[in-house]
Subunit: 349 residues, 2 copies
DNA sequence: ATAGGCTGTCGAAGCGCTTCGACAGCATGC
DNA sequence: GCATGCTGTCGAAGCGCTTCGACAGCCTAT
């Protein structure tokens, strides 16, 4: 293991000079700098992370807390995680992977031990237990003992109360509205929404409820009827759900699907029932583009910008760590891409 | 930030005593221990990770290198990653998430900086550039400068040469054999294999080639004909592939699918062509159980034991770090579950 | 010519922890 | 009664780095 002292000796300078070459915090003459850099290369020196964290009071590590459960949107999570890791590296940070398993204790542990300088939380619930530990600013009821001692953090997802928090998320409400708007514009009057598994709503994951809100309020404005049904993935569950929907609203001609594992079953079942897409029924999905393109019918969809969410989260966090920028809620504007699964509503019989 | 010294003062003992209470490396009287533990709880003390790493020469961090690309098996990777994180925590380790992006440099950086004590590599290629840096033992041509200074590591996946390496993987060759065996036992004589995207074979990812080897050699033994076709996911690509297969081998009655995103398209296209599953053609998939169960036909499949792979990888690594156990290749035995997609071959026309 | 200001470098302190050797106190063996 | 061996605790050194203050050397302004 090569140390700074060895580099210093090799280059014929003092340890502090090497340190300043590395950090650039004091000016160093060009010749000395080059000599030191040469030694670093020759010896294959890498600064010791522990020593650096101890002396410098920052670890250059960002903690990323991913949900333990994998009941939804796994590829989206993975994409976010990878975008976080990549962007973090680009800013000189490494990423520590935490699972939701430990809950708030993980936050305390990481904060207390100085393991990470900051945190990114995914899959935030509306009333998340971890939030009191992260809330900054002058929020009442915060659990920290003084201003400025809380862990800088960014949430991917939106809790009920965002006071003193920085959040990045897709604007789910606008997403819902956009779907309804598209279908309403095509003349559809009865729309069914096939949602996530009931468990997702029960644990009050914000995005599902917000989407629904957007969906419903735009439906009200455009005079469209909306029927929402949560649904487990898979064929059997969807067959049941679909039967109930047509039972209750036989005139349904538009579908909004927010559940990756219901997309293909829906298309298959509709086909099987002799309902043509998009001639008889239109389908709009809320899913990553890749899913929309690979489906048996190229789906009109609102994309989930996973990469962008990961990237933005890191960039905000880095800004905070650099003392730039404060708390803020960033909502990404949804974009709807028209593909082959949506068209004009059929003439009423 | 609470320090060890503050805990010591609060408990009325010396710093070293607190340290020994924490580590258990020397005997401490019950009363002193309790007093110290009480202080730790009252003050909410967490040992500083950097200081610990510096003084103790280990960071209690395991690096996990995941592939950057997400062109295959994303849920499997995620499941492995989560299993790694969970198991690692159970052994007192945290997990650092690295992407393949930096390649061998990441290995050097992590090794050199003492950021992590050990590494787990996923998605290992047959001739992986990172391997020379990790090979231990007396392997010739290793790049380390002396025995014992290489990073302990475990690979998930099997490279061409495993000398001096520890690997955990599903026995893909046995997996291929198992699929053929099952179909041959049902009387199928012409089997088509729908594989991963061509790119996966081109980059010599071991599992794909090994599966094929197992498939072919068992086919030879059982007198079955095998036609292998790589395939991008999605409907269009699969439609083309399928047409070619039936063109070349009209008597094909058995399919082995090793490509998650080809499963559903295959079932849909077969249905569309009037070929009933399993009456006319049988399908065996190599995929996570969840996919097999959620498909439109419950699929006979060989499961990919993602959790187990992650868990075993960590356990081996921890054993190595504790000085127990050495290099070893662990191949998990595949298990085939018969579901509704496979049955006796139809009588020859 | 001299005071003052820069620049570039160095030495030393200290970050919070682990660990080694020392040693006090006590029980044991003869 | 004294050497012996434990047990439990302490002090101090040191891990590799950052950073502060000091200061030598030189340039500019008066």
């Amino acid at each position: 293991m090569v140390t700074l002292a060895e580099v210093a000796q090799h280059a014929g300078v003092s340890a502090s000079t090497v340190s300043y070459v590395l950090s650039g915090k004091r000016s160093i003459s060009a010749t000395t700098r080059q000599r030191v850099e040469q030694s670093i290369r020759e010896l294959g020196y890498h600064p010791n992370a522990g020593a650096r964290a101890l002396a410098g009071k920052r670890s250059n590590i960002i903690a990323l807390m991913v949900p333990l459960r994998t009941d939804m949107y796994v590829p989206v999570m993975m994409e976010i995680a990878i975008a976080v890791a990549t962007t973090a590296r680009a800013h000189g940070y490494d990423v520590l992977l935490l699972t939701g398993e430990e809950g708030p204790d993980a936050v305390r542990r990481v904060t207390g031990s100085g393991l990470a300088d900051a945190m990114i939380l995914m899959d935030v619930e509306l009333e998340d237990e971890r939030l009191p530990l992260l809330r900054g600013g002058d929020a009442p009821g915060r659990a920290t003992s003084g201003p400025g001692d809380e862990q800088p953090s960014v949430l991917i997802g939106l809790p009920a109360d965002t006071t003193g928090l920085t959040c990045v998320d897709l604007d789910w409400s606008a997403t819902g509205a956009l779907c309804v708007e598209h279908l309403a514009g095509l003349g559809h009057r009865d729309i069914a929404v096939i949602g996530e598994a009931p468990a997702v709503y029960e644990r009050h994951t914000g995005f599902a409820e917000r989407t629904l809100d957007g969906l419903r309020s735009r439906a009200r404005e455009t005079g469209v009827r909306v029927l929402h049904r949560p649904c487990e993935g898979g064929y059997d569950a969807l067959a049941l759900t679909l039967a109930r929907i047509f039972d209750e609203r036989p005139g349904t001609t538009g579908f909004v699907v927010q559940n990756e594992s219901a997309v293909e079953p829906l298309l298959a079942l509709l086909r099987q029932q002799g309902r043509a897409v998009p001639e008889d029924v239109s389908v709009v999905a809320i899913c990553p583009d890749q899913v929309a393109v690979q489906a048996s019918v190229r789906l009109t969809s609102v994309a989930i910008p996973a990469q962008e969410m990961g990237r933005r989260a890191v960039e905000h966090l880095v800004a905070k760590l650099d003392g730039r920028g404060g708390d803020e809620v960033v909502l990404l504007t949804p974009e709807l891409t028209v593909r082959a699964s949506s068209g004009p509503a059929p003439a009423a019989p």
